[in-house]
Symmetry: C2
Subunit: 183 residues, 2 copies
DNA sequence: CTCTGCATGTAAGGCGTTACATGATTTT
DNA sequence: AAAATCATGTAACGCCTTACATGCAGAG
């Protein structure tokens, strides 16, 4: 799955500029792309070339031009077709698992320190996610319920996986502490 | 983080051939790399060039040559240094989240069908993971406890995230069903 | 006798990232 | 005066994937 579908997905909500789209991509934890210029602007020109989005250039008197994109009928069709196709399986990338594997060749203290630091990192991230969720919930207080529900679900996706990761780390710490050999 | 550290991690357990390593990579759900030839063999030659692994060519009378790699002292040092460095945050890639976003422009029936099919896919995968865990647990019955514990932790990582994903899908189904508008 | 497994490697290309580049406006 | 924000775009490169290529051995 490429970033193009994420862009179409955002445009399914409302027409918006490339700049808006890249900011949303960067801000979303569950849509894991970095939202870098090269990718977003290139993808948009290709989507436009292929007729899946329309482009309207706005030239305000001051500031740079904005190119506002919107789903075309063909774009909506492509999205729908993709949604009907089989969904690719998820992928969970966790460098700490690799570290755990490599820690066979390192002192147990290093391994334990890495686990502890990682747990702390996750805890902080979870707080940030909760904070963001609260702010966003306030922001779309008057929004239609479907939109609010969608935003909540996407935020919850990041949250549940971070929480699962943290729980897993804690269980790893317990399991390793229970091992007979100290080093 | 590159695949090189995963290879070093496997070699931290025991010396083995490129073929072994690529099979292990491919088999592991939590170490998400595909284990393709290009990547594995290339990474190993580079690790060897850089002195992080040693290479011993075995020429059996029949069949192709095996190149058995092992961690060198420098390799162990590099691994340890990496373990001490800050751990990169995890990334959770879930195409169904993107579909949910795009489903704003599609009939609710399509969206619900995608969610249901995805949930089923996850259920089957979870069964397969459990089955594999059982087989592996039998396999290293006589193995040292540290090794068995490590294997279990790595398998549990995949399992907990798949379970979290399935729970999230179910909560999404409930939340969307509770929405006022039918389409 | 064809297919699968063992075991190594290469070619071509896709997707994504960081960094560079421009230029105006707003904030500190 | 410096830095961040808006808004677009390009250059260079890294990691990873699929597919191709070779050759022997054992299973069906």
């Amino acid at each position: 799955m490429t970033v193009a579908f994420a862009l179409l997905g955002f445009l399914a909500g409302a027409p918006q500029s490339g700049y808006d789209l890249k900011k949303r991509l960067a801000a979303s934890e569950s849509l894991h792309w970095s939202g870098n210029n090269n990718q977003v602007y290139r993808a948009l020109t290709e989507l436009h070339r292929d007729g899946l989005v329309s482009q309207e250039v706005q030239e305000p008197r001051d500031g740079p031009a904005r190119k506002v994109y919107a789903l075309t009928r063909a774009g909506r069709g492509a999205l729908r077709e993709w949604i009907r196709a089989e969904t690719e399986p998820p992928e969970f990338h966790s460098p700490i698992v690799v570290k755990l594997l490599g820690a066979q060749a390192a002192p147990a203290a290093d391994r334990d320190a890495a686990l502890a630091a990682y747990a702390e990192q996750l805890r902080v991230r979870l707080l940030a996610l909760a904070e963001r969720a609260r702010r966003d919930a306030d922001a779309d207080a008057g929004a239609p319920p479907r939109r609010a529900a969608l935003r909540r679900l996407i935020e919850q996706h990041a949250e549940v996986h971070h929480r699962a990761e943290l729980n897993w780390v804690r269980s790893a710490q317990r399991a390793l502490a229970a091992l007979p050999e100290g080093a």
